[in-house]
């Protein structure tokens, strides 16, 4: 038996969320007294053997020129899972993981739990903790099938870095021609992807209009944070939809979430309440968001934010 981790990549580089999944898989393997291995489909420019530092002993590498396709990639992962004798498959709960993990569950007749935030408890069965109700709760779910598929919520499990080196085994498997094809990729230039960001600066209707986002972007730039917004802001077209955090938008769990001019409706809180530290800046002292915050400032965003930016600049190079 073994634990198999899917290694996702974009633009020639392994995704940070895969480092989390690799560490998670390695820790699961320790609990089950077995080894963790990885599977990589396609080419990356990164040092693959170096992934051993996240605890994996071996990386199976499948060569292909085809762009990402859940159906054919899943078949390749299944080949590797069989070869590696994998009983537990680990993915990141990111866009590609969401497409692949369920397909592997069907192929292996495995129970699947996604959005996992902690290591499993294995003393009685295999019980994982996942987010439910869009961040308003957690469920502990027992996977009762012999094979198991889990995917790990980004930013829930810090990568554990050791000093190992992984061996690389090339798999002689040729993917079938996929029925879907990526014909173009539009990269969001120079932005930190929201779901991967450890620091997030977010703003709401309190900013009065899209023309006032310059100070938000400047603050985000200073502390190397991603930008986000509340639903009314995205719905008004002030900011792109992919920046909308909340129950019907993106759910995030950064180390720091700075909310500026956002009142803190229950739907918004659901998307951000797993943030480790929440700072709220709002001119209304009665804004419900203050109850969910660690630090708060009652004040006008147009005065506070530029000052905050200047203060951060003093301590960040």
């Amino acid at each position: 038996m073994s634990v198999l981790v899917y290694i996702d990549h974009f633009d020639g580089h392994i995704k940070p969320s895969s480092f989390e999944a690799l560490s998670y898989g390695s820790e699961v393997a320790k609990l089950l007294k077995t080894d963790a291995v990885g599977v990589l489909i396609g080419d990356v420019k990164d040092d693959v053997a170096g992934l051993g530092k996240y605890g994996v002993k071996k990386v199976y590498s499948v060569a292909t020129d085809f762009t990402f396709d859940a159906q054919q990639y899943a078949q390749a992962i299944h080949e590797v899972a069989t070869k590696a004798g994998a009983d537990v498959l680990v993915f990141s709960h990111n866009p590609n993981g969401k497409a692949l993990a369920p397909r592997l569950a069907v192929r292996l007749q495995a129970g699947i739990v996604t959005g996992v935030v902690e290591l499993p408890k294995v003393d009685q069965g295999f019980v994982v903790k996942k987010t439910v109700f869009s961040g308003k709760g957690f469920a502990f779910v027992e996977i009762q099938s012999s094979k198991k598929v889990v995917s790990v919520n980004p930013n829930s499990f810090k990568p554990i870095v050791g000093s190992g080196t992984a061996t690389i085994e090339k798999i002689d498997y040729k993917l079938n021609t996929p029925k879907t094809k990526v014909i173009k990729v539009n990269k969001a230039e120079g932005e930190v992807p929201l779901t991967e960001a450890t620091l997030v600066v977010s703003a709401g209707r309190g900013l009065k209009g899209p023309e006032n986002w310059g100070m938000i972007e400047s603050l985000a730039h200073t502390i190397h944070a991603a930008t986000a917004c509340s639903r009314p802001v995205a719905d008004s077209g002030w900011r792109p939809h992919h920046e909308h955090v909340g129950q019907t938008g993106v759910q995030i769990a950064p180390d720091l979430y700075i909310a500026i001019g956002i009142s803190g409706a229950i739907q918004h809180l659901a998307g951000v309440n797993r943030s480790k530290v929440i700072v709220v800046i709002n001119k209304d002292p009665e804004a419900p968001f203050f109850k969910a915050a660690d630090y708060g400032i009652v004040g006008d965003a147009f005065e506070v934010v530029p000052k905050l930016d200047a203060e951060f600049k003093k301590i960040i190079k």
Partner: protein, 247 residues
Amino acid sequence: MKILVCISKVPDTTSRIAFTNNNTQFDETDIQWILNPYDEWYALVKALELKEQESGSVVHLLTVGTADVDPIIRKGLAIGGDEAIRINLNSADSYLIAQQIAQVAQAGGYDLVLTGKETIDYNSSVIGGLVAEFMNAPYVSLASKLTSQSNVVSIEREIEGGEEIIEASLPLVVSCQKGMAEQRIANMKGIMGARSKPLKVVEPTNTNTQTKIVRFELPPAKTGVKMVAADNVAELVRLLHEEAKII
């Protein structure tokens, strides 16, 4: 085009979440139930837009649940679904739910199966992928735009750090999110008409589950906010740097 839209009943987004029976059950007291927003706003309305483009198209709704889901199904029919199927099963096991959906979808010979990107109760985001694999069909997740022309489908899909433009052929399974379609509200004619549209109830072919919810937990409450004066922003930066050690 024959389109199947998978819909689900979920607690309203404003619901306060609580658990009961020693934290083993979701407390349904005072909960308002709604059609899962991703299913309604994006999957269902997208299906209706496609139907309006191509004459002879039909939009069927499918849900897995007991009779208490019927008002939600009628809402979907009021917005514009032609008919509905309910698989009479109450389960939280994604594998079983998707297996049952796939059997109905396969038998119905649908060109396109649409789901919301996730339900706002369990947030698993797996039904589309599971159904696709059970049907041996291609799957595009997290689509924010979809156009169809002579059976070639062009899709925008969210990825970390951008978006992909994908070309695919039918049959196809797609999970839908913001951007796919403009929200629609049922009008009186739709609501009246929905009462007489067919709602077929079928029994599940099995009830074997792979997972079991052991218990629930609420997120830890914040211990209290530390307020900083608006004219002392430097103090906030100091706290984040020295106390929270985040910056």
